[in-house]
Symmetry: C2
Subunit: 729 residues, 2 copies
Amino acid sequence: MGHTFPGATAPFGMVQLSPQTNFEVMHNEDGSYNKITYEYCAGYQYRDSTILGFSHTNLSGTGHSDLGDFLVMPTTGKLTLDPLKTATGEKGFYSNFSHKNEEAEPGYYKVDLDDYKIKAELTASDRVGFHKYTFPKSDSAHIILDLVYNVYHHDNKNVWTFIRAENDSLVTGYRQTKGWARTKKVFFAMQFSKPFKSYGHKKYDKEVYDGFYRRFNQSENFPEMAGKDLRAYFNFNTEENEEIQLKFALSSVSTAGALKNLQAEISHWDFNKTKKETQKKWNKELSKIEVETITEENKITFYTAMYHSMLSPVLYEDVDGKYRGLDQNIHTSEGFTNYTVFSLWDTYRALHPLFNITQPTRNNDMIKSMLAHHDQSVHNMLPIWSHYANENWCMIGYHATSVIADAMAKNVDDFDKNRALLASVNTANVSYFDGLGDYINFKYVPDDKSHSSVSKTLELAYNDWCIAQMANHVNDENNEAIFLERSEYFNNVYDSKSGYMRPKLSNGEFRKDFDPMDTHGQGFIEGNAWNYGLYVPHQLDRMVQMMGGKENFSQHLDSLFTMEIDDKFIEKHEDITRDGIIGNYVHGNEPGHHIPYLYNWTGKPHKTQERVRMIMETMYGPTVDGLCGNDDAGQMSAWYIFSSLGFYPVTPGSSEYAIGSPLVKEAIVHLENGNKFKVSTKNQSKENVFVNSIIVNGEKYDSFMLDHSVISKGGEIVFEMSNEPNKLN
Amino acid sequence: MGHTFPGATAPFGMVQLSPQTNFEVMHNEDGSYNKITYEYCAGYQYRDSTILGFSHTNLSGTGHSDLGDFLVMPTTGKLTLDPLKTATGEKGFYSNFSHKNEEAEPGYYKVDLDDYKIKAELTASDRVGFHKYTFPKSDSAHIILDLVYNVYHHDNKNVWTFIRAENDSLVTGYRQTKGWARTKKVFFAMQFSKPFKSYGHKKYDKEVYDGFYRRFNQSENFPEMAGKDLRAYFNFNTEENEEIQLKFALSSVSTAGALKNLQAEISHWDFNKTKKETQKKWNKELSKIEVETITEENKITFYTAMYHSMLSPVLYEDVDGKYRGLDQNIHTSEGFTNYTVFSLWDTYRALHPLFNITQPTRNNDMIKSMLAHHDQSVHNMLPIWSHYANENWCMIGYHATSVIADAMAKNVDDFDKNRALLASVNTANVSYFDGLGDYINFKYVPDDKSHSSVSKTLELAYNDWCIAQMANHVNDENNEAIFLERSEYFNNVYDSKSGYMRPKLSNGEFRKDFDPMDTHGQGFIEGNAWNYGLYVPHQLDRMVQMMGGKENFSQHLDSLFTMEIDDKFIEKHEDITRDGIIGNYVHGNEPGHHIPYLYNWTGKPHKTQERVRMIMETMYGPTVDGLCGNDDAGQMSAWYIFSSLGFYPVTPGSSEYAIGSPLVKEAIVHLENGNKFKVSTKNQSKENVFVNSIIVNGEKYDSFMLDHSVISKGGEIVFEMSNEPNKLN
C-alpha cells in the first residue's frame, strides 16, 4: 500500500515506465475501463499475477490516482485489442506473470510475459522510455498501443487522442484527459527498432463522427487516427529470440517536442547503454549519502527510501526548455529546469528539507518552477498540489511557502527572494481559496463555513509564519508583522477547557458535538484532535505551555502512543494501514510526522529517541509491505532518511533540526558545495536506541537542536549510544 | 440558400463575426444543441426572426456545416444561460429582431436586439472581432459567452473548453471540437471596454469530475473554468445608451497568440476607426475591378459576387506568423502568409483562376499554404478540402494540382515549382486515397470498388493533366509523360454505344443498370451522366469528336438546356434549389460550370453567349435569394465575375479563357503589376447578348479563346454587341 511502482525511471525523470497489473477494473458504460481507484494509484499491486502492459507516466506514493499514459503491450498469436476479454468471452491481451521472473533495479525492470513467451525489459532516460521485447518465433507478433487505458478512479477520463503513423517505424500522437489534472495533455513519439509489416486501430468512441473519412478504410494501414478512445496495433514477423525495441519519448508541448527529446536523448539502439547511463545517474544520486548500518536490511531500507525520495517532483520540460504552463500556453524555462508533481501538503515536511541537503540545485529549480506556476496562475497563487500544467487543489494550506522559507533559512536560495515573498503574499490573500477569506476575517476558519476547519487554521497559521520568515529575510518589516500576527491564529482554535484544538463556529463558540478521537467531520482531515491538534510547528514551546506545560504534554504524548483505539476510527481510505498506527499515533499520515520528536520540547528527549527508533524499525522494511501507508510522493521516505541520520526538520522554515536517535552506524553526506558531513555513532546497536552524548566537530554538544549550518559547513557529529536513557538530556 | 453570412469580416479575415439566427435547433441527449444541419452552414437564415448571438468563425457558401465558434450575446434582465428556453419553460437568451433594424456592409453589421433594447454593432480587423453593444439603463446587463453553441449537423461536437478570467476585463480560453474538422482547436482573448462587476459560468457536461475543485464555489467569480460544455456570463450595470465594447481575438496557436493578435491589431476602443480601416481594405479589394453595368442591379450583384469571392480561403496565422499545422504542431510561415479553408473541388474552377488576376500574391500564399499542408501531411498529400489544421476529405480528386498548374500557366508562380510538382506527384500516388489505387491499376475507377466512379475517373484524369502541365513547366519529361498518359484515362469510361460516360466494372464491362438522368448511385456525384459526363476540360476538342462531332454535341447541349426533367432527379440536399436548374443543366452545382461555354467548341459560340447571359440574369441577383445554390466558398460568385467580364477559365491549368458574352458595359481590371486591362462594349444592353465582333488592343480578334497574357500585359478588349447572333463566329 505504499503506492509505489517498480518500473524504470531516471532520477526525477519525466518518463516513469512501469507495469500496470491486475485486471480487476471498473467497466464503464461506454466500454472503457479504469483501474479500481485507490489501490492502483501507481498502477501496480504486488499481489497481482497479470500485467496489462507498460505505461509511461505514473505517480509514486500518492493517495489519489491519475496518469498511466500510453500503455504498451507486446503480444503474439491472434490479435485482440480488448484488454480483459473480448466480446465473445475470449481472453484479452493481458498476460500472466510471476514474481520469480521479475527483476527491478533503479532504471531497469524486467518481466516474462508468460502468455506470450515474451521477455519484456524496460529502461529510461529522462524523457524517453526504452522497451526491449524478446519475442518467440511468430508470424503474428503484435505491439499494442492502448490510449484508452487510464489510471483514474472515475469513469473514462479521455477527452481526445490522436495518432500518426509517420512512417513504417515512427508513430507520434497525444492524449488529452480530464482526470485529477483537469486539462492534461501528453504528447509522444514512438520509434520502433524494426519496421512494422502492417498496423491499424480500433475506435471505442460511443459517438463516432468520421465525416468523409468513412470513405476510406481507416482502421487498417491508414496513418491518421483520432478520436476519444483509440487502441492501435503494430504487426511483425519475429524469429526465435528476436528483439524488437521501442523508444518512447514524452513531451508536454507537442509531438515535435517529443521527437526532439527522443533524438536528443537516445540516438542509438543500445538498450544496455541507456540502462548503464541511467544507473550511473542513480548511483550518483543514491551515493550522496553513504551509510553503514546495523543490519543489511536497514541498508536496503535506507536506499529504498533514498530511491523513493527521487521519483517526484519530476522533470517537466523538453530538451529545449519548452514546457506547457498552467495557463496552457507554451513557456520556456529561462535560468532553471522546470518540474511538476508537487504534492506539497506531504512533501514540505521532510522531502524538500532533505533536498536542501542532497539536492539544493534541484530544490531551487523546483522553487523557480513554483514561481513560474504562480506567474501563470490566474489566481496568482503558488501551487497547492499541481501536476502536468494543472492545479488539482488537493489538501489544504499553501505549503509552497514552507518550501521557499525553508530554502531561504538554509541559504539554498538561488532565486529572487522578493519575487518569492510577493508570490507568497499573493497566495495568502486569495479570499475564495478554501476557507482563506474566512480565516483572514475571523482569524480562524469557522467550522460552520468550511470543513477541516481546525486543520486549516493550524496549517495556515504555520504557513503565515513561513511567509513572515521570508519577509524577515528580505527585511520587509511590514509583511513580517502582518504574517507574524496571522501566525498566531492557532491560538484561536485552542479550547483551554477541553485541552484540545477544537472546531470553532463563526459565532465564536466552540462546536458542541466534538469527539477528539474521531477523524471525520471534527474539524480535521487525515487526523484527529489528539494528533493533528499538536500541529503548531512554529511555536512548539508555546504550544507545550498552552497545553499544560512540559509534564502534562509529555503525558499526552505517552497516551497518544499507547492508547488503544477503536477500529471504527481507522478509516480504510485514509492512506494508512492498521500497521501504520501506534496507539493513536498515525505514521501513515503526515500531520503527526513531527510528533515523535516533540518529547524534545518536554525535557524528555530519550522518549523521542525510543519512539523514532521504534517507528523506523517497525514501520519501514525491505519487504513488499515495507511502507505503512502511501509513500506520499517521498515524504514517508524522507522522514526515514532524516530519522536514520539522527535528526529531523520539525519546523521547516527554520534552520534547525530536532535530534532523535540515528539508526545508521555511520553516514557520510556528500554536499553539493563539496563539503562532507559525517554522522558517526559509538556503541550503535539495535538495542542501544538512546543517545548518551553528542560530539560535534570534536566538542561536546549539549543541545537537542542542530542548525543546518553545522551540516552545510561539513564536519562530524558523533552520537554515543546506550541501552539506557540519559534522562538528564 | 447561398449559405453566406451577413456579419463583419476583413477580406480573407481570420475572424468572421456574424449573427446566428433561428432557434429551430437540434436538441441532443446531453442537453447541448446544434443548428439543423444543411440550412445553417453559415449560421444565418434570412427568414428567421430571432438571433442567438454572434459567432466569430463561419463558413461562407459551403454545403457542409462546421465552425460557429464563440457565440457572444448581450442581454438584460433576469440572467438565463439557456439559449432557447429554461428548464421551467421560460424564454432563453435569444432575442427577436427585425430586418428593418438590420444593416450589413462589408466589415460592418448592425442589428437591434428587440427583446433587450440593445443595439449590437460588429466590425472586425483580420484577427479581431470588435463588438459594440449599446445598452438601456439596467442593473442587470449581461454579456454571455456560449462555448456550447456550434454549427454542426451532428450531436454536440465539443471535446473540451477552457476559460480564464485573467482580470476584471480580460478573458481568455479555447475550444476543441470534433466536427467536420476532426481535431480542431481555436483559442481566444476577449477584452471588455468596461470591467464586469461579477461573472460566472455553468457547466453542461453530462459527466463532471471536478475533483478537489468541488471545495470551492467554482460557478461564481472563480476565474478558472474548464469542461466539455461551458457557458459563461459577465454582469454589468449600465446607464441609458451606455456602450460596452468587446475586442475578441482568435488564434490557432494559443491564448497567448490570441492576446498578441488583439494587442497588435486594435490598440484602442475606437470602433469607427477599425470599421473605417476594414472598409478601406474592402474598397481596395473591391475596386480592383471597376465596372459600369447596364443596370444598377447588375452592379450590386457584381460587387456582391466580388465580396463573396473574398470570404475564403481565410488567413490562418498569428501576427507573428505562427499557426497550427496539419500535424497539430505549431509552425511559422517563412516567406508566406498562411491560409486555410480550401474547398478545392469547388474553387479550383474559377475562384483561384480569378485570384490569378485579382489576387496573385494571395494566390501564391495560398499555394505555399497548400505546400506546407503537404509537408505536414502524414499522407504526403496536398489538401483536398482542408480547414483549421484538418483535412476533412470532402469531395473527390486532388484539385490543388489544378490551382498550382493554373498559377504556373499564368506566371503567377512565386513558389518553388519543383517542390510543387513533387508534392503533386506524391499526392497522385497515395494508393489508399479514395479510389486512387484502383484508378492507377485499372486506368479507371471501377464502379464496383468505389462510389462516384465516373466522376472520380474524369476528375483524376484532368488533375493528372494538370500535373503534366507542371512537369512541362519545369522540364520534367518523365513525369510529363507519365501524367499525360494518365490524363487519357477519361477515354476508359466512355461508352461509345450509349454515347455517355458510364460506370465501368472491374471486369471491364460497363455497368448494366444505368440511367444517365439519375444523379445518385450512377457513378456520379452532384451531377449525372448528362452533365457531369461532359467533364474533360483538358481535351475538349477530342471529347466533342468522341461524342459524335460538333453538330451532335451541340444538339446534346441544346437538349441538356431544354429538356424537362422529373422532380425525382432533383435532390433537395444536393446544394441547389429548383431555381438553379435549366433543363438538365445544374448551375447550383459545379461540375457543369464550364458547360455553357462548350458551344464554343462546336462552332456555335452564339449559343454560349445566349446561355451565359441568361444564367447571369436568372441565377444571380441583388436579392436575398440572389444565389441559386450554395456559393460554394466563392466559386459561384467567381463564375459570375468572369462571365460578366466576358470570358471564363474553362480549362484551369491552361493560360486560356473561353470567350462568352460580357454583362458589363465596361470594366477596368487593376492588376497587381500596375497594368490595367479594360473590357469595353459597344451597343451593350439587356437584349444585345450576342458578340458581333471583338477588338483587342485596336485589332480585330477572330478567336473565341483569350490568353491570360493579353490580360496581364494590360490593354483593352472591345466587344461589339448585337441582338442577333453572328452565326459565323
